[in-house]
Every structure is written in structure tokens, then in C-alpha cells.
């Protein structure tokens, strides 16, 4: 049941699970979780560097052969996000960027106006833009028109673990998208990741659900299996739901 890799810009992914590195207790825990997840693409954040140098996460990801997806987390405006993306490109030598512009600290919901503005500017500047967005089917199309390489609707706010609150919207986004759709944020457990793939998403991005689980390595393995299961089920064509029973044994 081999299939073609998921291609986003220059990025070719065999694994459809993208992991965020935030929230892990330490690098050793993170390493075990990343290996168990099978991920090939992992987010990092850009922050002011102290004189002692890096956090070690870059060295870890390089050693594991995992591609970097720098994010613009913490940015509140399009201008901040564009500068952060440009700094990430300069520091890390990648055109990939996870564009996220948060409206406020309590919800961390994406600001749609600033996100769209930044997406247009970054796409014009040659970036491969992965746009974190609300589960808004109209906005998803607008982001695609702006030149985003992938749209990443949330299942629920970041870090809530509430799962996919509006599956119908995710299906609507998938049904009209001309670029890959990656379910990003809100995943709590493996069945949420499975549902995302069953709804037709091309990949799942999560971090908290793994890094803050009691056993991150085990949960990473669960997410890996969940994504594979959902992808297989989507391709297999599920039976229609019925109101009345339908015997699965022959009549007497």
C-alpha cells in the first residue's frame, strides 16, 4: 500500500505526521518522541539568542535528519511575521515557513486579516508558506489564492486537546482545496488524528498532545499509527451509515 509522498514546495514527506517541538520536558524526551513518531518535518520557533548559544534543538533535528519548519509564533502583525520568516530563512537556510499570527494570548486564535496579508507578502518573497488558519472554508481558499503552499486549519485552539470541533468545516476545506490541507492544533489523542485523515486531510501537525502526554514516546507512536489508520480508511471507502441493522451473517 505504498503511495506517493506528500509534496509541498521542495518538501517531500513519506510520513504524514508533522510534529512541533514545543512543550517537551527536555531534549532526550523529545528525541525519543520524534523517533517514535516517524516524522520527517518538525517545527521550531525563532527567539532572541543569548550569548551561550543555541538550545540544542537544531543539532538534534540535524542529527535525526528531520527537516525544519520554522514558525512565526508570537507574532501579532503581518510585519512581525514577515520579518521573523526572513530571519528564519537567513538563520536556517530554508524557504519553508509555518505562518502563524495570533490575535491574543488567551485563545491563540489566528488573526485572519494579518495572516492573509503576511501570506501574500511571504509568497511573493519566494517562501513556501504553510498557513495556520481558522477552520474557515472561505479563508482557506483566500490563503490558497494568496500563494500558500499548504493551508493548516485548526481543529481547536492550540494546546487545548479538544479535538476537531467542526468536522464539517474541515471537510468543506478539503473538498475545495487545490493545495495540501494539514490539520493543525487541537489534537488531543490518536483518534483525533485519525479523524483528521478520515476527513481527507493530507497530514496532521501536533505537538502538545505528544510532548505533554504522560508518556510522549508512546503517544508519538499512537499518533503515527492513528495517522496511518485514518489515511488508509479514507482511501478504503467506508460503508455508508445506516439507521437500521443490516445482518452480516447469512439468514437461517
Amino acid at each position: 500500500m505504498d503511495e506517493a509522498p506528500l509534496v509541498i514546495g521542495t518538501c517531500k514527506l513519506t510520513s504524514r505526521l508533522i510534529i512541533g517541538t514545543g512543550g517537551a520536558a527536555n531534549l532526550a524526551v523529545l528525541e525519543r518522541a520524534l523517533v517514535a513518531s516517524g516524522t520527517e518535518l518538525t517545527t521550531v520557533a525563532m527567539r532572541r539568542a543569548d550569548a551561550e548559544g543555541g538550545s540544542g534543538v537544531l543539532e538534534l533535528l540535524r542529527r535525526l535528519g528531520i527537516e525544519l519548519l520554522p514558525n512565526t509564533a508570537g507574532c501579532r502583525t503581518a510585519a512581525e511575521a514577515v520579518l521573523t520568516a526572513q530571519l528564519a530563512r537567513e538563520a536556517l537556510g530554508t524557504d519553508l515557513v509555518k505562518l502563524e499570527v495570533h490575535a491574543d494570548d488567551r485563545t491563540l486564535l489566528p488573526d485572519p486579516i494579518e495572516t492573509l496579508d503576511a501570506a501574500e507578502r511571504l509568497a511573493a518573497d519566494g517562501f513556501t508558506v504553510f498557513a495556520y488558519t481558522n477552520d474557515d472554508p472561505v479563508l482557506a481558499l483566500r490563503l490558497e489564492e494568496a500563494g500558500c503552499a499548504a493551508v493548516m486549519p485548526l481543529g481547536a485552539p492550540i494546546g487545548t486537546g479538544l479535538g476537531i470541533r467542526n468536522p464539517h468545516n474541515i471537510e468543506l476545506i478539503v473538498s475545495r482545496a487545490g493545495v495540501p490541507v494539514i490539520l493543525d492544533a487541537g489534537i488531543g489523542t490518536a483518534s483525533d488524528a485519525t479523524l483528521a485523515m478520515e476527513l481527507g486531510c493530507d497530514a496532521v501537525l501536533l505537538s502538545t498532545a505528544v510532548t505533554r502526554a504522560a508518556d510522549p514516546e508512546r503517544m508519538a507512536a499512537a499518533m503515527r499509527a492513528g495517522v496511518v489508520a485514518g489515511r488508509l480508511a479514507r482511501g478504503a471507502g467506508r460503508v455508508p451509515q445506516r439507521f437500521w441493522a443490516q445482518a452480516s451473517s447469512p439468514p437461517r
Partner: protein, 66 residues
Amino acid sequence: MEIKLNGTWTEFPDGATVAAVLDATGGQRPGIAVAVDGVVVRRADWPATAVPKGAAVDVLTAVQGG
């Protein structure tokens, strides 16, 4: 002159370049990027770019996140 290095006013010799500022504060190491007054200065331009007096210099690197 004083420049605002990662948010903290810091004293440097007049005419200090981006490269000199980095050398004095952790080195021109891989995995970092520099913005002066909100504009990225490419690594190749660090030795030749003088930091203006009073400029905001931000040195960023990748950390766990997202």
C-alpha cells in the same frame, strides 16, 4: 555608542559592525540571524555593515516551539 542589543542597551565602540557586535556577544555562530532596526542583514554582509548609533539589533536563533 549605545545600541539596543536584544532589548538591552549595550555599549559598543562607535562604528562597530554587525560582525564585531556578534564577536563580542557569543560569536558569529551558525543557526543565527540578525536584524538591524527591523531589517535582516545577510550573513555575508555582517563584516561590512556598521551598526548605527542607537540602533536596535536583534539576534535570533531557533528554539523548541510550535
